[in-house]
Symmetry: C2
Subunit: 295 residues, 2 copies
């Protein structure tokens, strides 16, 4: 079996090929928006969410084309959220994945539209016949992705984050915010594999538990990187949370306890997958990778 | 049979009830985004697109709940596009349907998120089991809606509109722009009835032809209102196109020929529906209504 680093790299390349195929410039002047979609969607990144899709799909022997299309759709949703999150009216960030953000490279209006179109495209891809023979699976995937991304998931989390600027959050509030803002899309990435593979209820449940723990661990690691990370390596501005006076896992727990907590969650995430035995090795390794990454 | 005015009014009320049910405030601080979604989605408007869904669904005796959910989803997509289109980086409008636009009433960040969440919610609603017994129908609706709304449809049209600010468009270019920007969502509204009703290929084709003509007629009427309409009655700023030096059907054809062209298209739209006989009366009347409206 491949080691995690190779598997992550191979998966990123495969997802990029699918994204490249799906984001087609028509040639008309409106292609500018596709150019902006491609700029962000093909800009690199670790592709952890798409990896969660394909690795969880592998547990159920889902065919590669299906898994990669859904992985690409999830990455489109992630990228749309980055583009909108970086806008001047939101986080006002100039740098992302080591490159100028979409509205800096193009302009604000184009960035808004590119985000909108990536979100829309994700649903087009998931609902398309090429994604799965079963329309039930396609409808279920659409529903799960929409729920995870909308006002009760990712967008709701972003709203919470904005509202939180006016009052300091406590631990349960920060946890809820992160479960919505980043956790929901991570969870649906794992769930997608189970949906594609028509997995048992128990398998769904186990993957959900894994996703929950890995999502929180991932976020704590992100908070740690914002405090301790190297800006060049991380590829975006660091020290932002402290500067904004934002409550994070690190500001609430301190660096040491936050790191311990992340490790604990990673262990716990991995242990959920014991029922899959050797097959889940990459997903288990990923749990530890996300807390020990430096970018 | 009801007359068109009564049917439009009844339909608007029914769609509003469904929107009211679907856009639920969770009670948490993130409810602010739902408040903004509701502010725009429940702010009135003629509800022509939802009417196209329910009236075309009626041609095939689709059950009301199915049709109204899809109608609500289409209205959500329309409203999201209004919210984002009104943003300072886009058209920078303060007034919409006679009320402050979403970013004026709330703030820019909330408006961006509310648009994102409405778009997402539309797919959640369409893919939901309550929408139709057949998952094939649900997946097909998702696909059609996404295609109409994305980079090759509505968003592409908005991009064209922005790019057009730098050079004057000719008649074929204006027609293409409007087919994408407003025509695609109008077309899919009619198509949705046929999908819900598992209609024949021919019925699909006929509704598509109707939608195409009514879409252009609608846009010409919009351009005429921008020149001749009363700001209070129209509910948004008028004279914008001329002030921006934008090529429109009216600037290219002149008022008289534009009006003639709109009437011609309305007649043509109605005649496509002859195969449905009396059943299509409301849709035929609508074709004439959209070109003669004063708001």
């Amino acid at each position: 079996m491949k080691d995690l680093k190779t598997a992550l790299g191979d998966n990123a390349k495969a997802v990029n090929r699918v994204l490249d195929d799906l984001l087609v410039m028509s040639g008309g002047p409106e292609s500018r928006v596709v150019e902006a979609m491609r700029y962000t969607a093909l800009s690199g990144g670790k592709r952890i969410r798409p990896f969660l899709v394909t690795a969880s799909a592998d547990l159920f022997n889902v065919n590669k084309t299906s898994a990669l299309r859904v992985a690409a759709a999830v990455e489109m949703i992630h990228c749309y959220s980055l583009i909108h999150d970086d806008l001047p009216a939101m986080d006002n960030d100039d740098l992302r994945r080591g490159q100028p953000t979409c509205h800096i490279q193009f302009d604000e209006a184009t960035a808004i539209l590119a985000g909108d179109a990536l979100l829309t495209k994700a649903f087009e891809v998931v609902a398309g016949e090429e994604t799965h023979d079963s329309s039930t699976v396609r409808a279920e995937l659409t529903l799960a992705l929409a729920k995870a991304s909308g006002e009760a998931g990712m967008v709701g989390g972003q709203m919470l984050d904005l509202v939180a600027e006016d009052h300091e959050l406590n631990m349960p509030e920060v946890t809820r915010l992160q479960r919505m803002k980043t956790g929901a899309l991570i969870a649906v990435s794992c769930e997608a594999g189970a949906i594609l593979g028509k997995a048992s209820k128990n398998a769904h449940h186990v993957l959900h538990a894994y996703a929950h723990d890995i999502g929180l661990a991932f976020q704590i690691a992100d908070d740690l990187l914002d405090v301790e990370g190297d800006e060049k390596e991380v590829g975006k501005k660091t020290g932002k949370d402290a500067a904004a006076g934002k409550a994070t896992f690190v500001s609430l727990l301190g660096v040491e306890r936050a790191r311990e907590q992340a490790q604990l969650l990673a262990d716990q995430a991995a242990s959920h997958l014991d029922i899959f035995e050797e097959k889940a090795k990459l997903l288990k390794d990923l749990a530890h990778y996300v807390v020990n990454r430096t970018a």
